[in-house]
């Protein structure tokens, strides 16, 4: 069932559905976030950056965990599909990390008066970006892709240590960055009119990840299975 060929066709049918659902959620999220939700008491309208910044940051952590878990599965049980999922996730995760950092920086300028500050959360998010880039670099440096997948899985697992540091950094250290308002074991301390678009955008970003992950994974499958009959037929040669 986890055969690459089967995955390729299943993913192919799923992609348009996931893409459409993603688009719908995004439009809904943008509508509620930019038009319906009121201006913030303290931050005015600038807080609306939150609706892209926070989901991007959540995705940067979520994707890393998916990558590490898929990598571990691929390492332990030698499942090709798990390896494909892991390495396809890396560039997507890196771009969300980059987006989180840059939108955070832009939001920080009017709020904190500075484009950057070396506090715990920003620094560990930056380290996360470096980890993603290191994984991509290592994968590209190793010729044999199965070896490359195993090596990067180990690296990804070693880097998991960073994830709890990012999440809890705002609690452990007094930082400039806002404390957790949603992902804590308590009722969210955010107004419902702002929570709804935030959750909509978070859902939209998750669907987006699935959408582009499947596209990327299909490419990786084609690349790895290039010597098989079904790929040759697909490419138009026999």
């Amino acid at each position: 069932m986890a055969s690459p060929k089967y995955f390729y066709s299943i993913a192919g049918t799923l992609i348009p559905w996931i893409g459409s659902a993603c688009l719908l959620l995004t439009l809904a999220g943008l509508y509620y976030g930019l038009l319906v939700a009121p201006a913030d008491y303290q931050q005015g309208d600038s807080y609306r950056i939150m609706f892209v910044h926070v989901p991007a940051a959540w995705m940067s952590l979520f994707i890393y965990m998916v990558m590490a878990v898929a990598g571990a599965i691929g390492l332990i049980w030698r499942i090709k599909l798990a390896e494909v999922i892991a390495i396809s996730s890396a560039p997507i995760g890196a771009s969300f990390t980059f987006l989180a950092l840059i939108t955070g920086s832009i939001w920080g300028k009017p709020m904190w008066g500075t484009w950057w500050v070396w506090d715990a959360r920003l620094t560990s998010e930056l380290i996360l970006l470096f980890l993603y880039l290191g994984i991509i670099a290592l994968y590209n440096a190793i010729e044999d892709k199965r070896t490359a997948a195993r090596a990067t899985s180990i690296l990804a697992i070693v880097g998991v240590v960073n994830i709890p540091i990012i999440h809890y950094s705002v609690e452990w250290w007094n930082t400039l960055h806002q404390g957790p308002t949603v992902t804590k074991f308590d009722a969210p301390s955010i107004d419902i009119s702002m929570l709804i678009p935030l959750l909509l955008m978070a859902g939209a970003f998750k669907l987006f990840y699935a959408f582009v992950l499947l596209m990327r994974a299909r490419c990786e499958v084609l690349n790895r299975e290039r010597n098989t009959q079904w790929v040759k037929k697909l490419a138009g040669i026999s």
Binding site: F130, L138, I142, A151, I154, L155, V158
Partner: protein
């Protein structure tokens, strides 16, 4: 192999690596000289203002230590890889992770420990106070083993690659950053008269984590790299 022979295998490998390093003891000097040179470059670049040097001193010394560690890491597996000894070690009946611990320990004794001896001198160069130098040594004692352990994972992943050295830095430096932050932070805090127990506990936690988990990671990485 029985469990009684494991400690003997460990100490045999440790002794072997130390003997080999001793025979090339001039090479031990290289990362050490690098450490001193890098630290010396900063006053030349920033200017000799003692107030500024004292301020950035701890960070500079620690960054120099990171870079020196990175430079010395290549020697952990290089010669053994090139003459086939590494594959022999991997075929040994003894647990590979324990043997890796022996190799890393030898590496630390020949590259991390010398830094400790030279560091107080560098502290004096940059005008660090006595308290700061003491804290610096403490952080180096806790931190340099972490650098050797975590760095060895990176070397194990890249040992067979052509561009290994460059990629090694990319992989390992992000993992070094927490050590840098806590160590330099501790030294700066001690200079300002603040408590350093938090920094030291975090460093100790990282060290314990590294000692318990790195050897297995190094062993897995080697198995992947050498197929």
């Amino acid at each position: 192999m029985n469990t009684a022979s494991i400690p003997r295998a460990f100490s045999a490998l440790l002794k072997r690596d130390l003997t080999l390093a001793f025979r090339h003891r001039a090479e031990i000097a290289n990362p050490l000289l690098f450490f001193v040179l890098i630290t010396a470059l900063f006053p030349l670049g920033i200017g000799p203002d003692p107030a500024i040097l004292k301020e950035v001193g701890p960070g500079i010394i620690w960054v120099a230590a990171l870079l020196a560690a990175l430079l010395s890491l290549d020697s952990v597996f290089r010669s053994d890889f090139e003459d086939g000894t590494l594959e022999q070690i991997m075929m040994s009946p003894h647990p590979l992770s324990l043997l890796m611990l022996a190799k890393v320990m030898a590496h630390w004794l020949t590259s991390g420990l010398p830094l400790l001896i030279v560091a107080p001198l560098l502290g004096l160069f940059l005008g660090l106070s006595g308290v700061e130098i003491k804290t610096l040594l403490l952080t180096l004692v806790l931190g340099t083993p972490i650098l050797s352990l975590v760095g060895a994972i990176g070397v194990a992943l890249t040992v067979g690659l052509r561009s290994g050295g460059m990629i090694l830095s990319l992989l390992v430096l992000p993992l070094y950053i927490p050590v840098l932050i806590f160590s330099a932070g501790a030294v700066n805090a001690s200079g300002a008269g603040l408590t350093i127990s938090g920094h030291l506990s975090l460093l100790t936690a990282l060290l314990i984590l590294a000692i318990s988990l790195s050897p297995a990671a190094i062993a897995s990485s080697l198995r992947v790299s050498l197929n």
